[in-house]
Amino acid sequence: MNVRSFSLRPHKRGKVPPWKLALLLIAAGVLGRLVLWEMPNVEPVMAVALIAGMLLGGYYVILVPVAVMVGTDVLTYALGWSGAYSPVQILGLGAFVYSGFVLAAAIGQAYRPRLLFRTRTIAVMARISIPATILFDLWTAFGDWLAISRHPPMNWSLGHVLEMQVPFTLVHLASSLIFVPIFGTLFLYLHTHGWPTAGPSPSGTDDSGPE
């Protein structure tokens, strides 16, 4: 597995046009986040971001996670699901959450495996999701501490915030290990084989290098 430098140019296209795959990823992320709203830290956005980085790359690294988050944040705020956070606090925390998901997508792009429809590829995706999820949680916990919990009345230390974060990160890791293989399998199939048809399927593509 080679580490690749970041470029705004998407990867070589697969069997499905990148914009269609991006739309499907965004739809899956939005729908999944809304359905799982009441399960803290069980969310599909991390998986969607990683897969966008691995399969699409380039500007999709920013576009896909930000579109999922903007779409769901606007909708949930309008529906009154967003809890006690004010718009200013949402913007403050949002900066960390959004950039955290973009970072996850960039990690997906940098460490993407060879895109063959194999168990090994899905296993590599799942493996990469572990450090990506931990980095995301560290980054957003720091954001929470900086924006909210170091101020009165909490006055919590960063150490206390990180300590309280541990069970949530364990659940977030489990969430990534659920959604990355599921979404990874579906979207990798689309990327390498295209839409399912009745006829014989072609072999997978190997587009490990940029176009």
């Binding site: 399960m39 803290p40 009165p152 009345p153 909490m154 309280m164 364990l170 290990l177």
Partner: protein, 149 residues
């Protein structure tokens, strides 16, 4: 071993490892985010500060030894309405949505709690009370400006 059988075996092994890892992570989270052990506490005082009204409640002896349980006990004994939402396991916890007809979000204010002067750092059903504890539920903006109400 033929290639197809080897591939199937690898796929099976991968998903078995994945399932075990997910189960261990969920179990670990549940163990770390635990409900305080059941306890009987004495001389607990509860104060609920709504917009323009206050409820006071005192329990000499009670098995309801969390910030949420004592509020539910007071609602039951004094006859005011308490409405709460429960989040799903493994990080299940309650979010109090309405007390005595005052609902979260009205005028940008929210139901928040303190125990013994300390702002709640876990779900209210996870915050233990002790003998002589003072629990406060107050309808405030989030995060509350004052250090201790």
């Amino acid at each position: 071993m033929p290639g197809d059988a080897w591939s199937r075996w690898r796929a099976f092994a991968f998903f078995a490892v994945l399932l075990v890892a997910i189960a261990v992570l969920f179990a670990g989270a549940s163990a770390l985010y635990r409900v305080p052990p059941a306890a009987v506490v004495h001389d607990v005082h509860l104060r609920v500060e709504g917009p323009g009204w206050t409820i006071e409640y005192r329990a000499d002896t009670t098995p309801n030894s969390t910030a949420y349980a004592i509020l539910a006990e007071a609602a039951d004994r004094l006859g005011f309405v308490l409405d709460a939402r429960r989040y799903v396991a493994p990080l299940d916890s309650v979010l109090v949505e309405s007390i005595n007809g005052t609902r979260n979000g009205e005028d940008g204010l929210w139901w928040l709690y303190w125990v013994d002067g300390a702002y709640g750092d876990v779900g209210a059903d996870r915050k233990a009370l002790h003998d002589g504890s003072e629990a406060l539920w107050a309808f405030r903006e989030y995060p509350p400006r004052e250090a201790s109400p």
